[in-house]
Amino acid sequence: MNVPRHWRETPERYRMEAAKCRKCGKISFPARLICPACSNKVFDKTNLSGIGKLLTYTIIRTAPEGFEDIAPYAVGIVEMEEGVRVMGQIVDCDLVNLKTGDKLISKFRRMNEEGKTGLIMYSYKFVPDVGI
């Protein structure tokens, strides 16, 4: 991955920056130019709280390139409290005990790195919200 391709997504990956439609209020993550609910084209920036619940998930055992070292790992769809759904890894938990409906919170984590001298990519991952 080249630097600009990761860099231009950093508002979303570092801060979970989303776009709130100024007309209907629907939140899009990532930001869009056209609101999928009402076709309006004017938005305000908003940051997701990072709090949500697990809708469905899988445990990846045959990993794609670049993820072999962390397999098995969980990836799920998380419904954020703002209503928007986000896909991400679920970490810092016992995979056996993971279940849909679990309350999760996003954390800033290292996602991937391209060799010893390449780009290091960071993003949100989800962890169980144990109320700390």
Partner: protein
Amino acid sequence: MKEIAVIGIGITKFGELWEKSLRDIAVESAMNCLEDAGTDRIDSINIGCMSSGLFIGQEHLASLIADYLGRLDIPSSRVESACASGGLAVRNACMEIATGVSDYALAIGVEKMTDVSMGKATYALATAADQDYEAFHGITFPGLYAMLARAHMERYGTTSEQLAQVSVKNHYNGSMNPNAQFPFKITQDTVLNSTIIADPLRLLDCSPVTDGAAAVLLTTVEEAKKLKKHPLVVISGFGSAADSIALNHRKKLTELQAVKTSAAKALKMAGKTIDDIDFAEVHDCFTIAEILVLESMGVIGPGKGGPATVDGYTALDGKFPVNPSGGLKSKGHPVGATGVAQIFELVNQLRGNSEKRQIPGVKTGLAQNMGGSGGSSVCHILEAK
């Protein structure tokens, strides 16, 4: 709009075809198709291929295939809609005939997947997902369908045993298909004891990586009646639709909206309802996909796909046979070829030429070809006249 007939069909063996290149198999399927049609006339070439760029480093198939077919003087194009590329190529060929732009339109679906390592093939396939917001997080295609499977299991009580029966049925059908990659029967235990790829899906819930090509020649019903080489088969309806590329943006995780819409459009065009359809070839890239497709099209009620499969409703001798060819699971899934190979099977069945796996007396069939995790879907309705 002119009425569309299929007058020729051709296919290659599906499998690991190490001795053959993409151009070899594409041309071989077209030659078989033209021989079957009994004519050499082509007014346009419509190619479906998902990712020749990543699989063999070759784009510009419009020129490559026209060149090696020896037809440099006619329009040639290549379309891409992930694993629905083949179905989309057939749809484009239909448009050529329906509008009168071509009198004879050739559709070829092709994919050469085994020239790269499994890791590179997995990467190429994952490009059908949202690269920045799905694949970036380490999700794979089995992983996406595994999430759909879990949602279906938790909502409706669908079990791994029921999913395994989709695979068992399709392998039984495929055991009678000489072109299939894995033409042998398997048992439920074999599926349930195979390696877990992405919970809850196992290796034998997944379709394989395959090389292969298929071709169909379309013309007008008027022209087809002059040729009289085969019983007349028409394409009376086609429909396509899209859904959000990322699974997390779907409104429902237990239904595929693009499948529902594309099937409804095709049925409306053909003036039919799903109850008028005798059998179908559907996109069983994973066992859960066949269940989701059948429920989304209204063949079976929501949540009933698993039990219906166990009860034999979709078996070769059931009320609504599904994937008589063996489906993607047993026949193989050369992604760009799959949509065209489905039409091949429908035509053979409607002509009564499917030998051991022939479904007696079928008159109307449906083909459903899916892109990605349901981000696109193309349906065709074929009828024996």
